[in-house]
Symmetry: C2
Amino acid sequence: MQLVPPDFDRMFGALADATRRDIVRRAIDSEEGVAELASHYPMSFAAVQKHIALLERAGLVTKRRIGRRKVVRTNLAGLIAARRLLDRYEELWRGRVDRMTQLITDTKETDR
Amino acid sequence: MQLVPPDFDRMFGALADATRRDIVRRAIDSEEGVAELASHYPMSFAAVQKHIALLERAGLVTKRRIGRRKVVRTNLAGLIAARRLLDRYEELWRGRVDRMTQLITDTKETDR
DNA sequence: ACAATATACAACCGTATGGTTGTACTAATG
DNA sequence: CATTAGTACAACCATACGGTTGTATATTGT
């Protein structure tokens, strides 16, 4: 259940960076705040904070205040939205193959 | 069967543009050359040619010489590679849910 | 209330990206 | 074999991106 229509430009753009993909992966089963996440990467706190902000705009993570921290959690709906687009492409592909097969079948039938 | 390991930075970066996603979609069931593809978009031929080159580097399309044209075709393996990464994240998510469920179950058992 | 902790954001720098135009290469056709 | 169609690529421009440092805003603990 997505509140806003997925922005695929932002979404795939957000996934096009190894650090951000790793944040998404970690935030699946951790409850870390921004600073805790930042500690895993060889860059400044601010850089990681910007990555997280970008992931949030892309709908791939959410932040929730817990005490003095803001805990980052991966947004399953976002992942699913991205994956579904790729699924659709694959479906189109298989549809194409089916149509070609059908075409060949039809041709054979009219040939005899 | 991927000849080179997928470069997810390039791959998702390539998908982070509406024009390029549309090229991928079209190239699934069309046999258009670069110029024919370019005719669909409100930008120069060279711009579209660069988009296609980028998609090719990302492993999402292939080009094949047919006559004087170079026909662009979507590379299913590339799509699948991208989708699989997202699948893995979803699996991790479900794994997390399972572990939480297990934890709750265990807790209940030790509680009684 | 104040000091400390955690997060956010602005300004800046170098490089990549998305677009343009112009030129050069390659292959089919008359 | 000269022309034309189709593709590739270089140079350039504006803007976005990934990183930095520095400053501001919340929230907690004493």
